[in-house]
């Protein structure tokens, strides 16, 4: 069959030529796919609304030699709030970039699709920074990159009073093992406990959590270090979040 259907979120849209776009989609059925949308920037294009970043749509795609092309697109959800508030736009870009960076093309991950769709819907309703941390740890878990938070990743013993996060080790170290390693990040027990809660809790319940500023800061440092260790680069959208004073 030359034509096939997917339900997908648009992660990125890059302009090529006059009015064409290369879209990076994250579909429920086939994971990440890159497709061409001809004429999508023209005011009269029927696909225009559905191919905007962060929107969720049903796509009818046509197999091509290099890239598949968008034959039809039926918009399902647009998340208009993400385009009306600067901070939400910045965070939505960050979540989309994370999914793009951590996934390979053609590998189906329906749970990641659901997570991203739900997160886009909740941005603006749940404490944004906390939602972002929960998204990060859940995404890492779904894709097999989760830091070990339960016990010392080196000796398997209890973490003790002041655990240390170590990116190279892959998670938390007890103070005794941490003394043998360089470059760890000392954190509180509360930070580790909150990270475990974020992992277990449904995103809609996050407003019940009220971690203090120090815990928020430590969680951000741990997750960012962990992701940068695995990706070997920084997210470009963080630069934008910093510009608008929202990187917390």
């Amino acid at each position: 069959m030359r034509l096939y259907k997917v339900s997908a979120l648009v992660l990125k849209a890059v302009n090529i030529r006059e009015a064409d776009l290369i879209l990076t989609l994250f579909s429920r059925e086939r994971g990440k796919i890159r497709v061409l949308a001809y004429g999508a920037c023209k005011p009269g294009s029927r696909k225009r609304g559905a191919v905007q970043p962060f929107s969720c749509a049903n796509f009818l795609l046509c197999r091509g030699r290099d890239l598949d092309t968008v034959s039809q697109a039926d918009l399902q959800e647009m998340f208009p709030a993400l385009r009306e508030r600067l901070d939400l736009l910045g965070y939505a870009s960050y979540l989309a970039e994370l999914v793009d960076a951590f996934t390979a093309e053609g590998e189906a991950a329906p749970a990641v699709f659901e997570l991203l769709q739900q997160s886009f819907g909740l941005l603006g309703h749940i404490q944004t920074a906390l939602l972002t941390r929960a998204f990060e740890i859940k995404l890492l878990t779904l894709l097999g990159y989760r830091p070990c938070l339960e016990s010392c990743v080196s000796c398997g013993g209890a973490l003790g009073g002041e655990p240390v996060y170590h990116a190279g080790a892959g998670g938390m170290l007890c103070p005794r093992c941490a003394a043998l390693q360089h470059g760890g990040l000392r954190c509180r027990r509360g930070t580790v406990a909150t990270l475990r809660l974020l992992l277990r809790w449904d995103l809609r319940r996050l407003n019940r959590l009220r971690p203090d500023d120090a815990i928020r800061r430590e969680m951000r440092q741990i997750l960012r270090r962990h992701m940068e260790y695995h990706l070997e680069r920084r997210m470009k959208s963080l630069q934008f979040l910093r510009l608008i004073g929202e990187d917390y």
């Binding site: 849209a13 009269g44 905007q52 208009p80 600067l86 910045g90 934008f240 608008i244």
Partner: protein, 199 residues
């Protein structure tokens, strides 16, 4: 192995560097220029050199111009209290074609792109803020494209300009002329409803 004489090969190489032009098209253009009367090639070469050497950015609005200040900024008939902010010079031309706008412009020379990294310093935002300092400007119209980059830029500029006490507006979004309602997406329709007018 070289198939063409040196100057012809060089001409094809240079033409193929232009956007949207592949090797075949470059060859076709090169042979057209070689077969045409010599004046055609000389005129083209002169036009390219003159445009490249004389065109610069207007010191007020950052539009392309061949003098220090562009025609629009120098026009006394223009309303200097209204500034329309656009991303690129070609957007300014599109706005001018409407013949409905009598204010002046500011060209940002790009837009903020959250997903491709962003360098606000590479845009002309600082010059725009400097233009607003005199207190003469009453309204800034944000006419960036209605996509993620355009919206991000408009929201960012609105955040910077509003505290200065200047009215900030965004061009309306809605249905394009000749469009069908059934094919409009929910956001476009919602925006069209928001901006409805009495007839």
């Amino acid at each position: 192995m070289r198939y063409y004489a040196g100057p012809v090969a060089r001409l094809i190489d240079e033409l193929a560097r232009l956007p949207g032009i592949g090797n075949k098209t470059a060859q076709r253009l090169a042979f057209h220029l070689l077969n045409a009367p010599p004046e055609a090639a000389h005129n083209l070469a002169r036009a390219v050199t003159e445009a490249r050497d004389s065109v610069r950015f207007c010191k007020i609005c950052a539009n392309l111009t061949d003098s220090e200040v562009c025609q629009i900024c120098a026009d006394p008939g223009r309303d200097q209290t209204q500034i329309c902010v656009v991303g690129e010079p070609k957007d300014l031309v599109a706005m001018e074609k409407t013949r409905g706008y009598k204010g002046v412009y500011h060209v940002l020379q790009g837009v903020l792109s959250p997903l491709n990294g962003v360098d606000a310093d590479s845009l002309t935002i600082r010059q725009l803020l400097a233009r607003l300092e005199g207190g003469r400007v009453r309204e800034v119209i944000l006419a960036t494209n209605p996509n993620v980059e355009g919206d991000a830029t408009a929201l960012y500029l609105a955040r910077l300009i509003k505290p200065l006490g200047v009215k900030v507006t965004r061009i309306a979004h809605g249905l394009p002329v000749g469009a069908h309602l059934e094919y409009a997406d929910e956001m476009t329709l919602a925006k069209a409803l928001e901006g409805r007018r009495e007839v």
